[in-house]
């Protein structure tokens, strides 16, 4: 008989809701993963790559200027933006590509929104000499020409997906369809802690290196646990990676920041845990944005990496059990944080990560001055420069006015 952990259940969430054709592949993947997880040479090889190729460990940086500016708690930044490829995604893609290689798969497929996971998958596929094909919504292909070119340079073929809303969720549908048709030789390298079991668990384990390092680094710096860990949440991989090693440290607040888009009352947002409800989609039971009949809604966020109408099942459970909180910040607040962190700290964060920064900007007063907060900067913002420039040109936000009142950015 199966027990809950066999099928990757987090409370009632998670599981494996896929066409029967995929079941043998998922069972096989799970078997391999269970074995390799405890295999010394696999772990050694992965750790070596994370260090020498991806650039781990990443620094935990005390954001002195930001801390002073906000006048609240001590803020530390976990610098995943410094990794090769510019985001945390590579922690997962190297892990999964190595598993695929060991399994004897010759072909990798992946979905991508803005292109970050597509790029990270292309890189990992190049390392292991695997054929790689990336599914990307037609709208995103148009918006992210440069990342398409980047993936092509890295030897990936990019498929533009024209079905449905032509964005990330449709790219995932199409990747799943490809996997169903090519399940024998292909590994579907899912980019976040979502999808059918074992993906949410496996991706979480690969990303947990973030939280393990945080724990060690903050201990060295302060001799203590942090008071809160904050990360942005799209599918939820950088967040769960940051949270997981602290889950049993009940006094550490865990805060996952969702994309509030144009405001959660406008309908244009990606605040799945605030505005969604339980459903079954993309192979898992979790929270989803959906209409009254169960049709999946389109998500909206200025940040493509958060623009997803679902969330990993482990987060759904952390929310229901109140172990983590899931507030949201708007596009406008995220852009403001993007600019502020650039000015104050000389760090241009990804728009995704800017959501986490925006949360602490807004809520610094809710923390005591002697408290220690870790904010995960999941990626760097180079990819977002055009978007932010256009956003500002569209003057959707009173950034200019704000700018003149800030004033203490130089030191």
């Amino acid at each position: 008989m199966k027990n809950n952990t066999d099928l990757g259940k987090f409370g009632t969430y998670g599981g494996r809701y896929v066409p029967e054709t995929l079941i043998p592949a998922l069972e096989d993947l799970d078997k391999w993963y269970q074995r390799l997880k405890v295999d010394k040479s696999f772990q050694l090889e992965l750790r070596g790559l994370l260090k020498d190729f991806a650039g781990r460990s990443t620094p935990l940086y005390y954001a002195n200027n930001l801390t002073r500016h906000l006048g609240g708690p001590k803020i530390y930044l976990k610098r995943e933006d410094l990794l090769h490829s510019g985001a945390h995604k590579i922690n997962n893609t190297l892990g999964q590509a190595l598993i695929a290689k060991k399994m004897g798969k010759t072909r990798i497929i992946a979905e991508t929104g803005a292109g970050q996971h597509g790029v990270a998958t292309s890189i990992a596929s190049a390392v292991f000499e695997l054929e790689s094909e990336i599914y990307m919504g037609a709208k995103d292909v148009e918006r992210q020409q440069l990342n398409v070119f980047r993936m092509n340079l890295l030897n990936s073929k990019v498929h533009s997906v024209h079905s449905g809303s032509k964005t990330l969720k449709d790219a995932i549908n199409e990747a799943l369809r490809d996997w169903i048709a090519n399940v024998q030789d292909t590994h579907y390298l899912i980019g976040s802690v979502m999808g059918p079991h074992p993906f949410p668990t496996m991706v979480r384990d690969f990303q947990s290196v973030i939280g393990r390092e945080i724990k060690e680094q903050i201990h060295k710096l302060s001799g203590n646990l942090p008071d809160a860990v904050i990360a942005c949440v799209g599918g939820g991989s950088n967040a769960i990676g940051s949270f997981y090693p602290f889950i049993n440290d009940k006094k550490v607040k865990l805060i996952g920041v969702e994309a509030g888009g144009e405001g959660i009352r406008t309908g244009f947002h990606a605040a799945t845990l605030s505005k969604g409800r339980m459903g079954i989609f993309h192979g898992m039971k979790s929270y989803f944005l959906q209409d009254e009949n169960g049709q999946i809604s389109e998500a909206h966020s200025i940040s493509a990496g958060l623009d997803y109408p679902g969330i990993g099942p482990e987060h759904a459970n952390l929310k229901d059990t109140d172990r983590a909180a899931y507030p949201h910040v708007t596009d406008k607040e995220a852009v403001r944080a993007f600019i502020l962190l650039s000015k104050l700290e000389g760090i241009i964060p990804a728009l995704e990560s800017a959501h986490a920064i925006a949360y602490i900007m807004k809520n610094a007063n809710n923390f005591k001055k002697d408290e220690t907060i870790v904010v995960t900067v999941s990626g760097r913002g180079d990819k977002d420069l055009t978007i932010v420039r256009e956003y500002l040109a569209g003057s959707k936000v009173g950034i200019e006015k704000n700018k003149t009142t800030k004033g203490n950015g130089n030191s």
């Binding site: 599981g15 029967e20 054709t21 079941i23 369809r177 169903i180 048709a181 079954i280 999946i296």
Partner: protein, 274 residues
């Protein structure tokens, strides 16, 4: 226990015939037309009707059904419209099995029991849910059995014997074998593995006293015949029907006559399998 679905199969077996199963999208191209299409299919000889309830993200479906779903949803068709469609078809066809085929979220998002009771009230015979496998189906099995609704689980060419035995045991309607590694939509040709899998699956399924129907990609009488020769108790056509419907969207009488010809061709194969 006998239900509309098994009764239909049993009657066919007695006549040494195979089942012809037709899939349509509820509300496509319009609600009224989809009702007339179902009437036509039954008249032309389809034994069991599957009504697809449109879902925004049909992961097991190819472009033909995806497109039909998208268009239907854009017209505002909701699951309850599909249930009412069944109810109205039922008025004239007491015996024809009418099954809903849709994705888990449609069943679960407002409460599984609620949806199943509504379905029962509209005289639906059972369900086909391509993204629901038996490990996740405890509630579904309990509720469908309570309401005496038929279950149809899917199997695939790569399904292990051990799993197929469970699938057979838990399917109270029939077992739906997906013919290929792939999604719905017509195929130019089937490979050997399809026919080998049918033979292997048929042996297991029938040892549980259940029937095996094969679908995905069947578009010609030749395909159908080969499925039946390999051991299928029934064949399922979907995308081919939708193709005819879409192509003749604006010419109803041509649509109906092409459906009639297509169905009768397949029905002949089902009636005279040898």
């Amino acid at each position: 226990m006998e239900n509309n679905v098994t009764r239909t199969f049993n009657n066919l077996v007695q006549r040494n015939e195979k089942a012809l199963i037709g899939y349509v999208v509820g509300g496509y191209p319009t609600l009224e037309l989809s009702r007339e299409i179902i009437e036509q299919l039954i008249l032309s000889g389809v034994d069991i009707i599957e009504i697809g309830v449109p879902f925004s993200d049909p992961m097991a479906d190819g472009p033909i059904i995806q497109e039909a779903f998208t268009r239907t949803l854009n017209c505002g068709i909701a699951p309850k419209d599909c249930l009412n469609l069944v109810k109205s078809v039922r008025e004239r066809h007491k015996e024809t099995p009418l099954l809903l085929m849709t994705y888990s979220n449609i069943l679960y998002s407002n409460g599984l029991d609620k949806f199943l009771i509504q379905s029962k009230n509209c005289d639906i015979d059972g369900f086909i849910v391509p993204d629901l496998n038996f490990e996740e189906a405890d509630d579904y099995l309990k509720e469908t059995s309570k309401l005496d609704l038929a279950t149809v689980f899917l199997t695939s060419p790569n399904t292990s014997t051990e799993r197929l035995e469970k699938i057979a045991a838990l399917s109270t309607g029939f077992v739906y074998m997906v013919s290929v590694f792939g999604i719905t939509g017509s195929r130019n040709k089937f490979e050997r593995y399809t026919f080998e899998s049918i033979s292997r699956s048929k042996a297991i399924v029938s040892s549980y006293g259940k029937h095996l129907a094969v679908g995905f990609g069947i578009s010609t009488t030749k395909d159908g015949r080969r499925m039946i020769e390999s051991g299928a108790d029934g064949i399922i056509v979907g995308s081919s029907l939708i193709n005819i419907i879409t192509k003749n969207e604006h010419d109803k009488s041509k649509m109906m006559s092409e459906l009639d010809i297509f169905v009768k061709g397949l029905k002949t194969v089902c009636k005279f399998p040898n």
